[in-house]
């Protein structure tokens, strides 16, 4: 596992961020599509709930999630009966927490991308005989691909950097919940500045490259269309 010092937390973090992003795209797409199309009065309410993790202190979210996922709660005990594992201080629980925490970073870019596709082209597709799902995959998705890229990068990068929620829900179990940001914190606590430097530099470099990729691709596509 340990290819080099700190590779354990790094690989765990990438695994967590990848799984989280994948789940977020699967759940976030229908939510974003619904939000971009609905004229229901409860839309602002749903948008508010989706946006909450942006403004909420991670410790607050972490605290509620800890209670929600604990073996004493309905969800936690159901999961325990089903799998024999707890959701707190465990990788699965960390994925659930990350999905909720990064939700707005995926839903919002998707929603605005879908809104810019607009109803007009979808209507044209319907009059040409396309069923709603067909029209979504053949028209809305390809036209919203920049939104999907932005959503993926933001969802991934945001999960990569989370600290408070992980600490509250997952703790600090090597190989299970000890992600890179926790590892950095640990190293600093123990005055191991060299290791902290290394991991921090990796995270900084990765964040920079991810954002650079996103902006470059978006810029190129904007020039093409």
């Amino acid at each position: 596992m340990d290819l080099f010092p700190g590779s354990g937390p790094l690989l765990l973090t990438i695994k967590l961020a990848s799984i989280t992003t994948l789940i977020l795209l699967i759940i976030g797409t229908p939510v974003a599509w619904w939000l971009s199309n609905t004229r229901l009065k409860i839309k602002p309410l749903i948008e508010t709930i989706v946006a909450l993790p942006i403004v909420l202190p991670p410790t607050v979210m972490g605290f509620y999630l800890l209670i929600l996922l604990s073996p004493q709660s309905a969800i936690g005990s159901w999961w325990f009966k089903l799998t024999g594992e707890t959701l707190t201080f465990n990788f699965t629980g960390l994925v659930i927490a990350s999905v909720l925490y990064s939700f707005p970073f995926v839903v919002q870019p998707l929603q605005s991308a879908f809104e810019s596709v607009g109803r007009d082209l979808m209507e044209a597709a319907y009059t040409l005989g396309a069923k709603p799902l067909d029209a979504f995959f053949s028209i809305a998705m390809p036209l919203a691909k920049r939104g999907f890229l932005t959503a993926s990068v933001l969802g991934f990068a945001h999960t990569l950097g989370e600290f408070g929620v992980v600490l509250m829900v997952g703790g600090n179990i090597p190989g299970e919940t000890r992600v890179i940001s926790i590892a950095i914190y640990d190293h600093v606590e123990m005055l191991e500045y060299t290791q902290a430097h290394m991991l921090s530099a990796m995270l900084l470099g990765f964040a920079f490259l991810a954002m650079l990729l996103m902006y470059t691709v978006n810029h190129q596509q904007a020039r093409h269309s």
């Binding site: 082209l121 009059t127 005989g129 390809p142 036209l143």
Partner: protein
């Protein structure tokens, strides 16, 4: 009119309401004419299944599109829809746009339209590999028309397809539409606020005002009948259909003959045998009690005054019958009195050939 369907619908929106009932023809063009805000576009969208909360009944080709218990979705109504804007899919090239509908329409069992012929008719064969953004406005709209037709629909719904185009592009597409009209065996519903487009394309016309039908009838009568709202317009004009019988290339003129036997000289050198429709504005006809000779005016046609359509302003609008072809002449009240005109009187119309528009 042979009917293929019937539409009786109501729609209540905050700002306005639609309440209409009419027959859908089995072929030919039914124009839906009205000023902006009269509800004509909304009516077309209701027919296409693009509006929610529509009440009533729509039947077409013995299929129920809308009833109390049923509301067929857009994709299940076998329509071809042309929007005001082209609405081509920007990420697909022209060929993929054209194929979008044809690959998805499985419900139709009639013989598919000949692609090559359609490409030729619309002059889009050379554009197939381009992206929509590389096309001009007129080309885009022609591709959109092709896309809707290749789906092989049972009815075409056109919502001001020329509205977003400049005059030159309009002149480029109008002939395509009128040729399509002659070649297609399916009906077309054509929404427009342009009297000229409606006059040159339609066979029947519905005039809409504030969400209701103000007039519904055959175009030729609607244009000249005293009861019709169309004769209230300043540019009231009649149309005549005919076949080109003579072509004078050196003068850029053609002579057309109507089914009733009137001969009219029109500008342009259209091929002999071609069907054309000419629109003659009421202000371009002057009247004489006797036949004038040695006039610069090429068309002098005898007729009788069949109705006084309107004399509310400073002018009098007269309906004139010549061998059952009905035309409109607008003259001043003063001339009307000086000439001592009255109904059933025989009269000679002088029609300026240059004032005739053909399609």
């Amino acid at each position: 009119m042979n009917k293929a369907g019937h539409c009786a619908i109501k729609l209540q929106r905050k700002a306005f309401a639609i309440d209409v009932e009419f027959d859908i023809p089995s072929r030919g063009v039914l124009g839906i004419f009205g000023h902006s805000g009269s509800g004509k576009t909304t009516l077309l969208r209701c027919l296409a299944g693009l509006e929610k909360d529509v009440q009533g009944q729509i039947e077409f080709n013995s299929q129920t599109w809308l009833s109390q218990s049923q509301n067929l979705s857009s994709q299940s109504r076998n329509i071809g829809y042309i929007f005001q804007e082209d609405r081509l899919f920007p990420h697909l090239n022209v060929r993929q746009n054209l194929d979008y509908g044809s690959t998805r329409n499985t419900a139709n069992n009639s013989a598919p339209l000949d692609r090559e012929h359609l490409f030729k008719l619309l002059n889009i064969g050379h554009l197939l590999d381009r992206k929509p953004r590389q096309l001009s406005g007129g080309e885009k709209q022609r591709v959109a028309i092709g896309r809707a037709l290749l789906k092989n629909p049972q009815i075409m719904l056109l919502d001001e397809p020329l509205a977003s185009l400049d005059k030159k592009r309009k002149q480029e597409i109008l002939p395509f539409l009128s040729r399509l009209h002659r070649e297609l065996s399916i009906p077309m519903l054509y929404v427009s606020h342009s009297m000229e487009e409606v006059s040159l394309l339609c066979d029947h016309i519905i005039v809409m005002e504030q969400g209701r039908i103000q007039f519904n009838g055959r175009l030729h009568e609607a244009l000249v009948s005293p009861e019709s709202p169309l004769t209230k317009a300043d540019d009231a004009a009649a149309v005549l259909d005919g076949i080109v019988t003579k072509q004078e290339k050196e003068f850029q003129l053609s002579t057309i003959q109507t089914a009733n036997g009137n001969n009219i000289v029109v500008p342009g050198d259209t091929e002999v045998g071609q069907p054309v429709r000419v629109r003659i504005q009421s202000s371009n006809i002057s009247l004489c009690k006797t036949a004038v000779t040695n006039s610069s005016i090429l068309n002098i046609i005898e007729g009788t005054i069949s109705a006084i359509v309107d004399k509310s302003g400073s002018h009098v609008l007269l309906q004139i019958n010549s061998r059952n072809d009905l035309l409109l002449a607008r003259i001043t009240k003063k001339s009307y009195q000086q000439l001592e005109l009255s109904i059933d009187q025989t009269i000679f119309m002088q029609i300026k050939a240059v004032a005739i528009h053909g399609a």
